[in-house]
Subunit: 550 residues, 2 copies
């Protein structure tokens, strides 16, 4: 009889435990040891912030498995409070420290799987020791204990996923929250005119959001900001991002990638063929650039964990597909989702791109309850390849981003989005679904049928002598308009052409749709016209985002 | 100056009006006449049933455009109550009857677009004249007038989309509804074990659903069923399907396809190059079989209308992609969506297929409000190509079917569904989204890693001496189990292997997931085991569907 394989897994949550369970299904005989430094395994990291407010009522709901349940079901040897402190690659051993007894022992392996995750970046300023993070059950327990003392003010450092979720849940508890963001917008996976929707909603909910602001110093109950202002902060949460936990790997001489994560190949193998790495600690390949990147997402950790098990058990492996980084965050029902690259990032690389903004309803507008969402599509102007998409709004945003993520995975072009056959009834969509609409709008630009400009290009055009033509109704124009714009409602445009002949006009309506028809009329009548992509609403959002960019 | 093109459009709703508006954007000079037999254009056919209950409160919300608004915005010559009664292809003219004055006149065309839609199939039995249909505003007005008389009972003929929607809205008005279905299930785009969920929900809402039952005779207030029973029916709605309106086309000698729709090429051109046809009246190509088919869906009508405009204006045309038939219907919040072919249809053609059933939650189970849905994936066993998918449940069903429809459009394999990067936060998904999960389950079968059988194959296996092993908990087993099944909970399976050695077992759990792990344990331990796809829940649903198949 062959000796069973011995596999040691470091990190017992998303990536590590997915690898361990799959491995068991592949190899009933293997000896599988899972080492976890914290007191818990298989917990729902992504659910942690929601226990702060009681939205997730039971702490136990966050524990998907326990060492006992994993032993019963998967015959796994799961050891909590057990830290791997050193890897000896030659001997193929790991030194394990029992964090309760402080004893150390040696565990041998045939294969080692690293899924140690990423550690929250913590502030280093004086007094910052009291800042809490939100990574594991211990963090949550600490925060819940703090909340027992009925704090009334909180400071959240960082406006990414975790900062936004922590803020939401603290607000829900009635705590006055200040959120500091070093940069000038929330969520760097969104462009400013999209991210600003979240800003508005969070401020409306009472979050005191400060951009371009950091903390200078902490006292027991206050914090001094980079602006000099001192504010009250009974509790401090750090959500300034995470850093791959590469200490062990580095010590063992494994290759570290250029983004500071553990380097792996498409089968998650590190520079040592007996050692695999997955999850937040491992680098991924970016699907747009083909370059290495980090992506700290649960779906990737789970998938790559599954894949590693296959590699070790010599089952067929699907090489990791480059990461699109599809993600979503929700603040009080307002979802902000994205996939691929932002316009900001692509322009920084001088890519030749095409942008489409739309403000469709989540379902047929004639059916009650329709909500408007904001969608953005970013397309390679040379190849029509989809490079990114963003959506902000209520229900149905997740669906559109998932459909586009699927299209991107499959490599279909932006114009092809118009051809997708999506399920429509009045409660769930429109005869032309928002995603189809993005496809149509893109195709009009791609084929040179319509020319559009972006909200941030408007000033440039104005300076070059273009006039602004608002084709909305007189009522809409009166309600709020751009400075110095002429108002000729679309339905009277044909009668008013003589006022426009010989001029160059930037046409706009509320969202871009009437502007499109107007631009077509004008162009055919010999007036030089471009349509403002996304219309007044996108321009407004863009301008609002600038308010925080000082 | 060249004479402007003259285009006549027959039918002023989904397909016809989409063609007309797009054409105007392409050609400001064209002379565009839209002929519409009814009194209204551009109305929301799909919304009609919801006015019956007042869910869509305002009749006017159903009118998206009027002849006047279309004239103002698109300079279209829209003529309602104007029926095209004859096409003279040689002269390139249409005879139009003004239905108000009864006058007839001749209209010439350079290009003719046919989008006359499909007519409801009406019952022919004695007394059936009082049956109403639900196709246009006139039908709705008639129904609303009937409802004024406070009917208390209604009969709906047909259990497809429209029948279900009409029933929902009548029930909401407090009317006692009987629905007759000729066949043994609702919605023939679903397989029986999926459709039965709708049956259950409709019956729970009070709809008296009768399968394999037709109407024999109608009196003023009653109907006699094929069973001999006489029931009360103040109102009768016919929703027994629709037939393409091909009268005009046939008369004009245009080629009719083998499914009884107008034959068209991929640019929607009929057998006469000056005449195009779109929408419900035109045949499509089926994406699975490559054969002609009908598909009466608003999305296709709109898209093909757009495409025809391009063809006529000589703008680039994207040839029609074969139809997947993605669709959805909702009864009191329970959505039933599908794409592609059913298992039933594929088995009838003896296709070598693989089936996956899953019962995932719409979002992370630990976050409040998670609802279980039922998904089914149907895969070509030879090529791993996705042939169809079905979903029934509350929120999130539409998203999963749309993602799969996108995957099918793009031609990615079923196993690749596991690789999709879908947006996950606790409110919107899971680290392994339901669609990913379908991919994993499929891959396990495809790679021969797990063998599954379907609910309808269980009897066969039982007859061949296989035993049924229930690996759910003792409590679950006690709560409801298959006859003669052995219960060994998964977590105690390894200790109980000796009871199973030498046997052939069909393993099952509640939904298939624990059964999968159990099957893997058994197979590796040398016990011949197959997993019951979809578990107890799917088997239960399948058996329940049989109750109506007598
Ligand atoms: C608050 C929060 C919310 C999130 N929300 C989302 C979301 O909505 N969507 C999403 O996609 N992702 C979300 N994430 C990210 C997601 O949880 C991670 O991407 C995922 O858990 C990464 O898996 P992993 O296995 O790499 O690391 P983890 O799941 O973090 O597991 C790593 C484990 O390894 C242990 N460990 C580290 N070093 C050692 C050692 N030397 N010895 C033993 N054990 C060790 C750690 O204690 C840790 O428990 C969220 C994360 C957090 C913290
Ligand atoms: C109650 C109901 C609910 C529906 N729900 C959905 C849904 O949820 N999702 C979905 O995808 N689809 C749905 N549909 C189907 C969808 O409405 C049709 O697929 C779509 O409208 C077809 O477009 P069309 O242009 O071919 O026909 P229509 O939109 O029906 O337009 C055809 C028009 O042509 C006119 N006409 C016919 N002959 C002549 C003539 N000789 N001269 C002049 N005019 C003529 C007719 O009066 C009619 O108004 C529903 C349909 C109905 C009736
Ligand atoms: C849950 C966890 C222990 C993994 O357990 P797992 O059994 O591998 O994974 P799941 O519970 O997702 O089940 C997936 C398995 O069941 C199978 N399965 C699921 N539904 C099935 C069904 N209806 N029929 C048959 N098989 C099914 C899948 O194919 C897969 O098996 P495979 O890996 O052999 O292909 C691990 O992911 C974990 O610890 N998660 C918690 C932490 C975490 O993910 N955090 C981030 C998000 S909050
Ligand atoms: C509405 C109707 C008149 C068509 O009008 P339309 O102007 O062609 O179509 P839409 O209102 O959908 O608008 C789509 C156009 O606006 C453009 N558009 C939409 N949003 C835009 C935006 N934000 N920026 C720029 N352009 C935009 C699209 O590209 C498209 O133009 P294109 O065809 O030139 O590419 C016709 O479809 C109809 O009568 N529908 C009602 C009947 C029906 O569909 N029934 C079945 C469902 S209930």
């Amino acid at each position: 009889m062959v000796r069973p394989k011995k596999i040691v897994v470091i990190g017992g949550v998303a990536g590590g435990m997915s690898a361990a369970t799959r491995l068991r299904r592949l190899d009933e005989q293997a000896d599988i040891v899972v080492l976890e430094r914290s007191g818990y395994v298989s917990f729902a990291n992504c659910g942690l912030p929601y226990h702060l407010s009681g939205t997730i009522e039971q702490r136990s709901s966050l524990m998907l498995q326990t060492p006992a349940s994993l032993a019963a079901r998967f015959a796994l040897d799961v050891r909590v409070k057990s830290e791997a402190v050193e890897i000896n690659r030659d001997a193929k051993t790991v030194i394990v420290r029992n964090l309760e007894t402080k004893n150390e022992y040696v565990e041998s392996y045939d294969f080692l799987i690293l899924s140690p995750g990423a550690a929250p970046v913590m502030p280093g300023q004086p007094g910052a020791e009291r800042a809490m993070s939100m990574r594991d059950i211990e963090d949550l327990d600490r925060a819940m204990a703090w909340l027992e003392s009925k704090p009334t003010t909180a400071l959240v450092l960082g406006g990414g996923f975790i900062g936004i979720e922590v803020a939401e849940n603290l607000v829900k508890r009635g705590i006055q929250v200040t959120l500091l963001q070093r940069g000038n917008q929330l969520m760097k996976n969104l462009d400013p005119e999209m991210a600003v929707m979240l800003t508005t909603r969070m401020r409306a909910a009472g979050v005191d959001l400060r951009f371009n602001t950091t903390a200078r110093e902490f006292t027991k109950k206050t914090v001094t900001l980079s602006t000099g202002e001192e504010i009250s902060a009974d509790v401090i949460f750090s959500a300034m991002g995470v850093r791959p936990e590469i200490g062990l790997a580095q010590l063992a001489g494994l290759r570290i990638g250029e983004n500071g994560g553990i380097w792996v190949d498409a089968e998650q193998r590190t520079s040592d063929p007996s050692i695999f790495a997955v999850g937040d600690a491992a680098e991924k390949t970016d699907s747009i650039s083909g370059e290495p990147r980090l992506a700290t997402l649960a779906g990737l950790a789970n998938r790559h964990g599954h894949s590693v098990a296959n590699a070790i058990a010599q089952a067929p492996v699907v090489p990791a597909t480059p990461a699109l980084g599809t993600s979503i965050v929700t603040f009080e029902g307002l979802a902000a989702a994205s996939v691929g690259w932002t316009e900001t990032a692509l322009r920084a690389e001088s890519r030749n791109i095409r942008i489409v903004h739309a403000h469709p309803a989540n379902h047929a507008a004639y059916y009650p309850g329709a909500e408007t969402m904001r969608l953005k599509l970013i397309v390679d102007a040379d190849t029509d390849k989809i490079l990114g998409a963003q959506g902000v709004g209520g229900s149905g945003v997740d669906k559109r981003i998932d459909v586009i993520a699927t299209a991107m995975f499959a490599g279909i072009t932006a114009s092809n989005l118009a051809q997708l056959e999506l399920a429509y009834d009045p409660q769930h969509g429109s005869a032309k679904d928002p995603v189809n609409m993005l496809g149509y709008i893109n195709r009009n630009i791609a084929e040179g049928f319509t020319r559009t400009i972006e909200w941030h290009q408007l000033e440039l055009f104005r300076n070059e002598g273009w006039e602004i033509l608002d084709v909305r109704t007189v009522g809409e124009h009166r309600f709020g308009a751009m400075p110095e714009s002429i108002n000729i409602p679309l339905d009277t445009l044909r009668e008013n052409l003589e006022h426009l002949r010989g001029k160059k006009v930037v046409v706009h309506c509320q969202v871009g749709q009437r502007g499109h028809t107007a631009t077509r009329i004008l162009t055919q009548e010999g007036v030089e016209a471009v349509n403002l992509d996304g219309g007044y609403l996108t321009w407004k959002a863009g301008m609002a985002s600038k308010g925080d960019q000082k």
